[in-house]
């Protein structure tokens, strides 16, 4: 197993685990954390793919395009996380709850 494939597999495992936590947990902070785990997984897949060599002649010429996209993605993920956390704080201040108003467990 080459290194890029390893990182891509780890990334996919993170995405699946994050998706599980996103669905199962009701607490909004846990959902935000799960989304962050998922995005980390996506970034790992991208970085893994960036290291994939085009041929044997240029083994480790990393592809800058996925790397730049991951950099963009990190900033967007941070911005979205900040907004989500602010929304959670506001939701708790208004309603006293940290879950969405759905019928889970009823």
């Amino acid at each position: 197993m080459t290194q890029p494939v390893f990182w891509a597999l780890v990334g996919m495992a993170l995405v699946v685990m994050g998706l599980y936590a996103l669905i199962v947990h009701a607490h909004l902070l846990r959902k935000v954390l799960a989304l962050n785990v998922m995005s980390s997984g996506v970034f790992l897949v991208f970085i893994g793919l960036a290291r994939r060599a085009p041929g044997e002649d240029a083994p480790l010429a990393a592809d800058p395009v996925p790397q730049a996209m991951v950099l963009t993605g990190i900033v967007v993920a941070v911005a979205a996380t900040g907004l989500a956390l602010a929304l959670i704080v506001r939701q708790r201040a208004l309603t006293g709850r940290t879950t969405l108003n759905d019928d889970v467990g009823r």
Binding site: M12, V16, I74, G82, L83, A86, V89
Partner: protein, 261 residues
């Protein structure tokens, strides 16, 4: 009793649902892995990397990632700055920020007065080095944002940022300079954000400097978590005195502050 019964039944159903979710997600993960291996065994398709490296000499920078971010895919980065701005507008629209933490003690304040300038200098270094090595506006902006976080944790309710009016200008600086450079290039006959190779380096550096400030301010303001505290929340003169006293290490504290033997 019926309450507890229905509760236990609901818990049981939740457990079953979680198990179902886990199993279906495991299947999804296996399917994704299978797809990935199919894609891998199909061999490497032509990538953009070769084109990116080939055109690198005309981009004004020698770091390929910076070339992708600020030259080939400059639209992407412009929109990314807009996303950051939009997220911050969302945070501000939710109301005023919570009051800050209490003023830090002498040890933390001393550390802050060392770490924050260091972060700012390192940010400037990363901004410059991004032209030819790993680094760039986002890394530098992240360091500035971290400096803001530290200052807020040390007790400044506004994370070391100026008032709201000045913050607004700093926040839009990235998008503004980026757009103005693009429009200016259009006015001179090049396409939107199509840099002439002669000026590419300096235009990219100009955009990156503005973007660094905007990103740093946006991250620090996002950490504050609401509209910046108004003038009434500004530190009073006494607070300022305390702050400067805490920031400048005083080797000889007043005798009253010394623990009495």
């Amino acid at each position: 009793m019926s309450m507890s019964q229905s509760e236990s039944r609901a818990a049981e159903r939740n457990r079953d649902l979680s198990l179902l979710v886990a199993v279906s997600l495991a299947v999804l993960g296996a399917a994704l892995t299978w797809l990935y291996f199919i894609a891998l065994s199909a061999g490497a398709a032509p990538r953009l990397a070769d084109l990116a490296y080939e055109r690198l000499p005309g981009t004004g920078v020698s770091n390929p990632v910076t070339a992708v971010l600020l030259n080939y895919r400059a639209y992407d980065t412009l929109m990314e700055l807009a996303v950051l701005l939009a997220a911050l507008l969302g945070i501000w629209s939710l109301g005023p920020a919570a009051p800050g933490f209490q003023r830090s003690g002498a040890v933390l304040a001393g550390m802050v007065s060392w770490v924050v300038p260091l972060l700012i200098v390192t940010g400037g270094y990363l901004l410059w080095v991004g032209g030819y090595a790993p680094g760039g506006a986002f890394q530098a902006g992240a360091l500035l944002g971290a400096a803001g976080v530290i200052v807020r944790l040390a007790g400044d309710p506004r994370a070391g940022l100026p008032g709201e009016g000045a913050q607004r200008w700093l926040l839009v600086l990235g998008v503004l300079v980026f757009t103005l450079v693009g429009l200016g290039l259009m006015a001179f006959g090049a396409g939107f954000l199509t840099y002439p190779p002669k000026f590419a380096k300096w235009l990219i550096l100009l955009i990156e400097m503005a973007a660094t400030v905007a990103i740093g301010v946006a991250l620090a303001a996002a950490y504050v978590g609401g509209r910046p505290p108004g003038p009434e929340a500004q530190p009073t003169a006494e607070d300022e005195d305390a702050l400067t006293a805490a920031e400048t290490p005083t080797p000889d504290p007043t005798p009253a502050l010394r623990p009495q033997p």
